[in-house]
Subunit: 572 residues, 2 copies
């Protein structure tokens, strides 16, 4: 490809709303262009890198005996009614009526379509296990798109669906796909990736893992124990607590705390610690009257995912006011009079004594509040987030670390949620009819590309790993008007193309500095400089973008040297 | 791939609404499954064949210096407002509001997105010509989906957009893409393909060609002169006429024709010929008051595409009644009193004498009607369809033939419609700022696959060309329970996989007849039969699906024989 014709521009600056380096660099190097909020066009730089990632994914899925299929993007409402998801999924799913006024939707995921395809055709144990997958455009109307390709509304995704006769067989296969995913990340050039236990969310099922690219910009919080290897998404990480120190129960007192409303002010005023206070967090229930109040220890934060699972309601944070029967800033268990209010206590409060809590009236708190004595017997649930330094729930010994991550893949053990609701039956070896057990496995192409850039750049620009680079070689002929330079460069260019090596040539008549800066910014792994000076010695210069290593090769040998570097690919 | 695990079933019958052989066979052989009207899931058989077609298209586009990009499927209204197409395109375009209530649409084509990408980045003549293309899912809400993948609502399409500084340069490039398309059809195995001049439709522009797969099931009518090579879509084919024989003008008479309303009855009653009658065809104008009446010679049919271009209205056929001022069955030019009625005369009526025409009153026709004498001077336009046997408009000598075809690709010279409306400017060599001249080039992947099947089948099933076959080799081990058969077959299977040959093995324990019938139906180009009988002579049987040619090869040589057949590929 001639750089002069490449529909992509290099710029010094990125728009000010671009914060993540992958976002900034992919815009500055011309890998993509924004069309609307969370919607991008990929230039050939971006698209070729994505196609390389897709092919790696395809190869690894085929090695797991995956069958590549293509489900429709647009599906009729009926298909999603049987599983119940037509109603349970909110406004992130696009719905429209077709010209015959039939309700349709844009598929966000394809469990229903997978069962629709396999149903009737797959009906005996000897057809299982089997796995079907697709690589396809998806649209999810995300409320907050961010970070360029990190979180978008339209994206290309590989989604796979497997069918099994037993949980054992699913687990065996699940582990195989887990290994295939690790292989994919390795091949595309992503290093800081771990898998963590995760929530099953809208998919249903019991066990799920997310592959997380560790990065301080990641939206997900991960709980990691470096000693025992425990890894979980904050959403599902369990809290365990050391036995609270025993104290004598002191008499309950109601105290004027004036304008002190939040935990810090109250604790400061009363010369105590946040750990000795009860924090009240109020949630509204979507589409229902009433509220959910969660009481946690003053230093802890409510984990909404856990609370949702326990209270089984679709809740959202809520600013409680007197209209709803709350005395904001002074909410406590004792004397709470809000109507239709469900109350939950977090495990962090169990066995805690002599606490500070709101007295449910303006300006007043209780001190020396003891839940059982002053309120009654309650159940405690694990409802709060794990904090850095808390005890590892797995080994029970070491302190956990909290890291941030970007989810770059997920795998789910779905169980029979979809095969059951859609009445898919297979005969077992023993002649029994069962609903097959399913797994599903997702990976987003563009987000992975963005993470690769996030991990591979320097002050000069992107450092593309060889395996996914849109062009493996970037030829920079200095002084293109020099006939020897030009013919040597184009000769090498043509020979590389004949050898099926993707190659870019900077055929512009511009300053060497511009050529070098552009090459560094775009980040192709191998740069070839053809200059009048080195040609005097019949040499060209080969430079590796990642290491800066420079090789001088004779004009005649240069092709072979390049082919050798590419063949010995260590994902430079 | 093991056939036992393939998520695809072979059936004896196809649904009764499947009429075209490609539709019937692709359903019966398990290449696809219908999800909704005009919406299909492709199984791995269908999808692998499509991916092979996509790769051939990709290679040929890259040879034309095409840059593969990816535009969004979902686009904001604004992008389509500038070109005016947000309003001019009807209900075949899906529109919806996103969660922020912003109007969005599903892209049917991407001229606007192409200009959006290239604009600002491409601004100088030395960046031109350039071409960007994508291979992408499109949704068009077709009123009539038919013929399986022939006409669907969701499909994968390659769409390309080129930019030029001059019409000359566009024409040169247009011709190059024309050749690339011919190469694509040849490589995917389609023979009966011609290119014809076509209407530019909603794309705008002046010159366009369609590539037509000649087939009696095709919806398009083509006008062909076998002698001079003239080829055009009926929509744009020109009518020319021999000079009418001169007759003396006879006196106009009004005659009671009773209940004779249509041309045939009137001509029969009056003992004359349809060619001596005037046919009136009435159209309503969409979203407007009024009608358009087109008068053509009795034996001719109105060509709506031509009429639309002349009258510049969006018209639809209309049953005229007295309410609108028409006397249906007796409509003629003389005395027509309908309000807001535009009248057009077809070229077929020019210089015709002593005609029969409606008298605009119940039961009456005029005979010996002569347009100039009895009605006045009129303009004649070319508004009717070319008929089989009419004179070729190109050579003016030979008679044309009418054939049917399926449109399998189109190329357009767009002009500056989009670059102008979106204000894209490039500097010419002379420093002048111009709107670049554009071309666009489309090809549908699934429809091409369906046409390949339509052209390549026999009474036993599909005959897949080697280049696009989902699996090149289909191994049928007879008596899979025989250890020697099974190990020989799987040994060959594994070796072919090691050589990156896509191979299917029928690992089912079933009758040879079932295996042969399934293999024939699915249509992989090379079948290998491993049977206890031939193994007695240390041989396996290789059979070509297309020719039936059978080769016996020793077990040891079989791999090389197969690799040789594939290498010498003549698209068997």
């Amino acid at each position: 490809m001639r750089l002069s014709k490449l529909v992509a521009e290099r710029t010094k600056e990125a728009p000010s709303d671009a914060k993540m380096m992958s976002h900034i660099l992919m815009l500055r190097a011309g890998y993509m262009k924004q069309v609307a909020n969370g919607i991008f066009t990929l230039t050939s730089l971006g698209q070729k890198a994505c196609l390389n990632i897709e092919n790696i994914i395809r190869e690894e899925m085929n090695k797991c005996d995956g069958q590549e299929v293509k489900f429709p993007v647009v599906m009729p409402k009926e298909l999603w009614e049987v599983s119940g998801r037509y109603y349970s999924i909110g406004s992130e799913m696009v719905r429209f009526n077709d010209r015959a006024n039939h309700p349709m939707l844009l598929g966000m995921t394809h469990e229903e379509a997978a069962v629709h395809l396999a149903k009737n055709w797959v009906n005996s144990y000897n057809q299982l296990p089997c796995m079907i997958y697709q690589i396809q455009t998806k649209f999810r109307d995300e409320p907050r798109s961010r970070g360029g390709l990190i979180r978008v509304r339209e994206f290309t995704m590989k989604d796979a669906y497997s069918f099994h006769t037993s949980q054992e067989d699913l687990e065996k296969y699940y582990y195989e796909v887990h290994k295939a995913y690790e292989k994919i990340y390795e091949r595309i050039g992503l290093k800081n990736v771990i898998s963590v236990k995760s929530d099953t969310g809208m998919m249903g099922g019991s066990v799920a893992h997310e592959f997380m690219f560790l990065n301080h910009n990641g939206e997900d919080e991960l709980v990691l124990c470096e000693q025992c290897g425990y890894r979980a998404n904050q959403e599902v990480a369990e809290c365990i607590y050391q036995e609270a120190e025993k104290e004598d129960l002191l008499p309950l007192e109601e105290i004027d705390t004036g304008d002190a409303k939040d935990i810090d002010s109250v604790a400061k005023l009363l010369k105590t610690d946040a750990t000795k206070c009860i924090k009240a967090v109020v949630f509204a229930i979507k589409k229902e009257e009433g509220t959910v109040v969660c009481f946690v220890r003053g230093d802890k934060e409510v984990n909404e995912a856990k609370l949702k699972k326990i209270c089984k309601k679709d809740i959202v944070p809520f600013d409680a006011s007197s209209e709803d029967g709350f005395c904001a800033g002074n909410i406590g268990p004792k004397g709470l009079k809000a109507k239709n209010c469900e109350i939950y206590f977090d495990l962090s409060l169990k066995n805690q004594t002599n606490l500070v809590t709101g007295a449910n009236k303006e300006k007043y708190h209780f001190v020396n509040f003891n839940i059982e004595r002053d309120y009654g017997k309650v159940e405690y649930y694990d409802l709060s987030k794990v904090q850095e330094g808390q005890i590892c729930p797995h080994c029970g010994k070491h302190k956990v670390k909290i890291s941030n991550g970007v989810e770059i893949g997920n795998i789910f053990q779905l169980g029979t949620k979809y095969s059951k609701s859609m009445n898919m039956l297979v005969k077992t070896k023993e002649g029994q009819e069962i609903n097959p057990i399913m797994g599903c496995y997702g990976i987003g192409v563009g987000r992975n590309l963005a993470c690769v850039v996030e991990e591979n750049y320097d002050e000069r620009g992107i450092v593309m790993p060889l395996n996914i680079a849109p062009y493996k070689v970037h030829i920079s002929p200095l002084r293109i008007d020099d006939n020897t330079v030009s013919s040597t460069a184009f000769d090498l260019y043509n020979k590389l193309k004949e050898n099926n090596i993707e190659v870019l040539i900077d055929d512009r008549d511009c300053m060497p500095g511009v050529k070098f800066a552009d090459a560094d910014l775009m980040g192709m792994p191998i740069r070839v400089v053809v200059s009048p000076r080195s040609l005097q010695n019949n040499q060209i210069e080969i430079k590796l973008r990642k290491t800066g290593e420079t090789i001088l090769a004779s004009v005649e040998e240069s092709l072979n040297v390049l082919l050798e570097i590419i063949k010995n690919n260590k994902n430079i």
